[in-house]
C-alpha cells in the first residue's frame, strides 16, 4: 500500500542535505508552510538556497532560518518588505546572496522545471537590469529574454486537504506558489490541515496530483470553518 503520510516531523525532514535548494510555497503569510519551515530549522541543514516570493519577516520562520546563518542565497521577487529586518541585516553585512526575479518569471521558471523545459522566452524584464547578461532574442518583431528553469531539491508546501497518495487541494488564495513548487522539486513535502481517506477527494478538484508529492504530514493549525 502506498502511504505517503508520515507521523513525525523528523520523518518529514529526513534526508534534506546541506547545500540543498529549497522551494517554499506561500505568498506573505498565506499558504506558507510555517510548520515545515520550523521543522527545517530543527532538522539542521545549512548552506541552503531558498526560493520563495518573500525574504521573511520578523524573526521567526524563514527569517529565523536566515538569522541562524543557514541560508547562503535567497531567490525571490520581494526581498524588502515591511518587517524584513533579518534579511536587511544579513544583506548589508554581505552575509547572504540575493537573486531578484520578477514574480511571474519566478513562477514560470519553477513551472518549467517541473515540466521538463530547461529554458523559455519572456517579455518580462526586457531592457531592465533584471535581464542583464541574459540572452535576448526577437520573435515576430518583439524582444524577449531567455530565462532558465529553476528546479529544487526540496519543496515545502501548505495544503488544505491531502490523502495517502499525496493528492492535495488548497484553500482560496493559499494556493498561490504551492502547486508550482510542488512540481519543481525532487522531494516535495506537504503539511496539510486535513487528511482524507483515499477516494474522498473528488478527482475533479485535486490541484496537485500525488505524483508530485513524496511526504505528507498532518499539521492542523486552525481551520476557521471546522
Amino acid at each position: 500500500m502506498i502511504n505517503k503520510i508520515v507521523k513525525t516531523m523528523a520523518e518529514a525532514m529526513e534526508g534534506i542535505k546541506d547545500g540543498s535548494t529549497v522551494l517554499i510555497g506561500g505568498f506573505g503569510a498565506v499558504g506558507q508552510p510555517a510548520l515545515l519551515i520550523e521543522g527545517l530549522i530543527e532538522q539542521g541543514a545549512s548552506d541552503l538556497t531558498i526560493v520563495a516570493n518573500n525574504a521573511g519577516t520578523g524573526r521567526a520562520g524563514l527569517a529565523r532560518l536566515m538569522e541562524l546563518g543557514r541560508v547562503k542565497k535567497i531567490i525571490c521577487s520581494f526581498p524588502r518588505s515591511a518587517g524584513s529586518v533579518v534579511f536587511e541585516e544579513l544583506f548589508k553585512a554581505g552575509k547572504i546572496e540575493l537573486e531578484i526575479v520578477p514574480q511571474g518569471t519566478l513562477a514560470e521558471r519553477m513551472r518549467a522545471a517541473g515540466a521538463g523545459i530547461p529554458a523559455f522566452y519572456t517579455a518580462t524584464a526586457v531592457g531592465t537590469k533584471l535581464a542583464a547578461g541574459k540572452p535576448v532574442q526577437e520573435f515576430d518583431g518583439r524582444s524577449y529574454v531567455m530565462e532558465r528553469a529553476l528546479p529544487g531539491d526540496v519543496a515545502l508546501v501548505e495544503a488544505w486537504r491531502a490523502d495517502r497518495w499525496g493528492n492535495l487541494t488548497y484553500r482560496s488564495s493559499g494556493r498561490n506558489f504551492n502547486p508550482v513548487v510542488a512540481t519543481a522539486a525532487k522531494l516535495t513535502i506537504a503539511q496539510s490541515q486535513h487528511i482524507e481517506e483515499l477516494g474522498e477527494l473528488d478527482p475533479e478538484i485535486v490541484v496537485t496530483p500525488g505524483i508530485y508529492v513524496k511526504r505528507v504530514i498532518h499539521l492542523p493549525y486552525g481551520d476557521p470553518k471546522s
Partner: protein, 220 residues
Amino acid sequence: MTEKDWQPLSRGQMAARVARDIPEGWYVNLGIGIPTLIADQVSGDREVIFQSENGILGMGRAPNPQHVDPWLINAGKQHVTLQPGGAYFHHADSFAIIRGGHLDLCVLGAFEVAENGDIANWATSEADSAPAVGGAMDLAAGVRRLWVVMEHVTKEGKPRLVKRCSYPLTALKAVHRIYTNLAVIDVAVEGFRVKETVPGLSLESLQNMTEATLIDDRAN
C-alpha cells in the same frame, strides 16, 4: 509660482478619475497604493473583474471585520473577499493570465514615466541592490493597457513625467496613459498628449512642472 487658482486632486479623487474610464467587462489588475483605491470607486452597476497576482479573479472589497477569511488576501497582503463568479488558481496560471496579454488593464503607481512610455516604478536608485520588484515587470510587459496613476511631481517638486527615466526601468515603452493629480495624459508615438487638466490649470503651468514636452490635446 504665483498663487494657485487651481486645486490638485486628492488621492481618492485620482482613483475616482481613473475608475470613470474603466468600462464594464474589463479584467483589471490594480497595483498597490493609489491604484488599490480604484476598485471601490467603480460604480456598483458596472461589472469589472479584478485580478490579483496571488491567484484570484473576481476579487471583491475588503471584508466586514467579523467575516475575515485568513486565507483570502490580495497581492498587497490585505484581506479581501471574492465575488460570485470568482475563481482561484495557482501562481503560474495567474501570471500566465498577466503575461499572456489577457488583462484589459493594469493600473500601477510609478516614480517616473518617460515620453516614450518607459516606466520606472520598482527601485529608487541604481545603487539599491535589494529592491522589491514583485509582479511589476510582469504586469508592465504583459497586459494590454498600462495606465499609471501618480502625483505629477515629487515631494521636492521634481517632475515625474520625464524625457528619459533616471531610475531603474520596470519596462520599456509600456505606458498608455497617465493620471496625475493635475492632468490626464496619453502616451502617444509623438509624446505626451494632454487630454485633461484640473480646472483652472493652464497648459503652461503644467508644462512648468513637466520635464518632457507636452502636446495640448484637450477637448476645448
